[in-house]
Amino acid sequence: MPGLVRSEFPVPMGEAVPDRSDPAPEVSVVLPTLDERSTIRDCLDSLLAQDYPYIREILVVDGGSTDGTRQIVASAAPRVRLVDNPRVTAAAAMNVGLSEATCDLIVRADAHTLYAEDYISRSVDALAASGADWVGGRMRPVGGTAFGRAVAAATSSPFGVGPGRFHYSDTARDTDTVYLGTFDRSIVEEVGGYDEGRIQWAAEDQELNFRLRRSGRRIRLDPEVRSWYFPRQTPRALWSQYFNYGVCKASTLAKHRTLPYWRPLAPASMVAATGVWVFCSIRRRNLLVAMVPGIAYVAGAGAVALRLGRNPGVAPHRAVGALAICHWAYGLGFWYGVGRAAAGLPFDTAPRRGR
């Protein structure tokens, strides 16, 4: 690297001398990766800078990155351990990580996320204080482009993503699912681990949380557990992501014959109702009536976007675009997934071209 500085990883995590009279538990961090070169360094920096002294290991479980991710991770050894994930997916990575981890308490991490210095300590504290089985924080999206800011605003609003409290709640509460999480691995093993084979990729966390809740476990959202997530920064990438989320819900429905929560039905119903309305209107040759759902949607989304536009840096027209993509891609993805399930086709357990 001519001209560049040598950049050591920060913070003497491994050099801290834990006071073992302290009852605080040791933790293993499990971080699935696949081609994360542009974000992995900052992600690891933020994990290595944690104020929690009892982090025994950070396991980066890599699905075969070819972009240099593995080299960056390897340079953080021995505090960070690179583990191969031959089955590629995030669900498989979590199962590999759980089997490799030497601690019972697991922190599930994500490479597109930066963690507050007290992320792990607050997670551990919240787990102990609440008596819950799984604790996670709010998903705090950070937009790095004009469209990314609109996506961040849309996905932090109940109007954008429905009542998924981990997107916007400011109060600690039990909930149905959270972003990432800290948990004892035994509870995951009890319900059979992450599902690698029957659900669409990226559905693993919410599907696991669904099984945990069905088995009587408590999922806890604590907004003081802070991390920052970089959402998709282009309309195309956002469309792909939300279409896949829709398929994820359909795959969960296909597996469990029920949904973990009613949220997916809102965009799915909107898409279905719009389709029926437009079809009927066109059959009656009334194009004006056929346009009514579109006009109504734009009016409604426009009103929400004006509200989102009060956030600095969020242009209302981009917010309308982000809302529309989230809703329509999700709804269409859901029906696409339902169609696949009805046709007996398997779901994609791994992304086709990276994640």
Binding site: L4, S7, F9, R41, T145, F230, G309, P312, G313
Partner: protein
């Protein structure tokens, strides 16, 4: 993005119209420039080679630079103009509320058309091919990015430090989730810019380089590379008085450092006329406050409550990402540390009170709302503030001038408020590296210990601190008048738009406008850019 305000619809309409006209090179100032250029009789250059760096579509600065370029050509200089050309991942043309993507196409169109309107050929630095990737940057940790140097040894990390924070509208780059991402974007852009700038300087070999501010993205790189090559670098900024400019040789004009001028006039009493001139200007400042943004338009008088308190100490913050502050925090590592230290000290003096006035620019600078609000910082850092500490938020309409008058002591980092308080004969404790530090009318501290001792002394007896209102007035006159040169040839009727006031090229010729002569003499012959002495 704040919603449109009904009161500003006229401004929006004007800007919209102007944006459309810029697209076709027909903005009023561009048409005026063409009319002006048509009347100019060309003469062969015989003087120094002067290179202007005009990279962004900041209309006021583009027009100032092109007018100066024209005036220098009329004085025989060989003038060339370097523009950006576009295509960078990021620059400081916009900020993190607005970009990326950067508005390169409209920016380039305005700059190039404006330069051409003055009969000059814009020479773009970039834009011919996309900047090369720099994948190795992904391996550098966020805390080390400021140490990055490129293959030629240029300390890009250091040079993009201020522009990155300015872009982020936050000085706390290391704890900002957008910090590492943005810094890498700036470094990649800086690498491409530095490479192009080296090539341009070596090809053109100018004698003089004229550029804005000196600390911004393009300018910090150009200043560094030009200085390495022995080129005479002249920087300029807007003066504090309306329609004035400040010029510096070699140094960033934005630091407003006037020590050489002060040495010359520090012992010279002001005349009656000068006293009156200064008083009139200070009154204007009180009414308006800022050359561009009208902070005190709807200001209300401060009600500072009863007299149950002992001393009143007023602390005036800066905007954290202001280039006048970054790297000049002096006694403290950051504004936040300085604030904490002040509150900590006042906690031990419940009988006295501290009023923290958060800079109104945090909330009132349209399009530049801070991402690092000190009011929010105080809420988080001090779950419960001591009862004798009051915070006046950035959007509070309370006039800072009333606070200055009510205060027994002022605390500032680099704010000009410190100078204004000294002019009111108030003791001021200065913690930062500001231009009026060490001039004999403020108490300047070098470390947190001194800061604490100064507060203690002030609370015991404010009169014990250094004060010298006469020296402060002499300094203020030197600063506001002598060191800034009137330049009414370009105005900014609405922020972002520029008007050329020159109708006849003869107005730019040597010997017609004494202020313009001072500027041109400073650029071409090393004159001292004095706004008063020669006139």
């Amino acid at each position: 993005m704040p919603l449109p305000q009904a009161a500003r619809f006229g401004e929006y309409a004007l800007k919209g119209l102007n944006a459309g006209l810029r697209e076709i090179g027909q903005a009023p100032e561009q048409r005026q420039a063409r009319r002006l250029t048509r009347k100019i009789k060309r003469r062969d250059p015989s003087g120094p080679r002067v290179l202007f760096l005009t990279p962004r579509s900041w209309a006021y600065h583009v027009q100032v630079e092109m007018l100066l370029a024209t005036a220098l050509r009329l004085r025989g200089a060989e003038v060339e103009v370097v523009t950006c050309g576009g295509g960078l991942e990021v620059c400081d043309r916009a900020n993190s509320w607005e970009a990326p993507p950067m508005p390169c196409r409209s920016c380039r169109t305005y700059v190039d058309r404006s330069v051409e309107a003055f009969g000059l050929d814009p020479d773009p630095l970039l834009g011919r091919e996309p900047p090369p990737a720099w994948p190795e940057l992904d391996e550098i940790g966020a805390l080390d990015l400021h140490r990055v140097v490129d293959d030629a040894g240029t300390p890009l990390g250091e040079l993009v430090d201020i522009p990155t924070r300015w872009f982020l509208l936050s000085a706390s780059r290391d704890s900002d989730p957008l910090g590492p991402l943005t810094t890498r974007r700036f470094l990649r852009s800086a690498r491409a810019t530095a490479e192009a700038m080296r090539s341009t300087l070596d090809r053109k070999r100018p004698d003089k380089l004229v550029l804005l501010n000196g600390l911004f993205f393009f300018e910090s790189i150009a200043r560094r590379l030009a200085t390495e090559r022995g080129i005479d670098v002249i920087t300029y900024e807007r003066g504090f008085r309306p329609e004035t400019l400040v010029f510096r040789r070699g140094l960033p004009a934005s630091h407003y450092e006037i020590s050489p001028y002060w040495q010359r006039w520090k012992d010279e009493p002001l005349t009656v006329e000068q006293q009156a001139e200064l008083d009139a200007y200070l009154l204007h400042r009180r009414r308006k406050g800022h050359p561009i943004f009208d902070f005190w338009k709807d200001a209300v008088s401060a009600d500072l409550g009863g007299s149950e308190h002992g001393r009143t100490v007023c602390l005036f913050t800066n905007v954290t990402w202001d280039s006048a502050v970054l790297g000049r925090e002096g006694a403290f590592g950051s504004i936040q540390q300085w604030l904490d230290a002040a509150i900590d000290h006042m906690k031990g003096h419940p009988e006295d009170r501290l009023i923290v006035r958060v800079h109104p620019a945090e909330a009132k600078m349209s399009g530049k709302i801070t991402r690092e609000s000190l009011g929010t910082y105080l809420q988080h850092a001090w779950a419960s503030l001591p009862s004798n500490v009051t915070v006046i938020a950035a959007d509070d309409l309370t006039s800072s001038y009333d606070l200055m008058e009510a205060a027994d002591v002022g605390l500032v980092l680099t704010s000009t408020v410190g100078l204004e308080m000294a002019l009111l004969d108030k003791p001021v404790v200065v913690a930062g590296e500001t231009h009026y530090r060490g001039k004999g009318f403020t108490t300047d501290v070098d470390n947190p210990g001194d800061f604490g001792r100064a507060i203690e002394a002030a609370l015991a007896d404010p009169a014990a601190l250094d004060r010298d209102v006469e020296a402060a007035r002499r300094y203020a006159y030197t600063f506001f008048f002598r060191a800034s040169i009137p330049f009414p040839l370009v105005s900014e009727p609405v922020p972002g738009l520029a008007t050329l006031r020159v109708k006849d090229p003869a107005a730019l010729a040597e010997g017609v406008d004494p202020w313009l002569d001072v500027i041109c003499d400073g650029i071409l012959n090393g004159g001292d850019f004095l706004g008063v002495a020669t006139c």
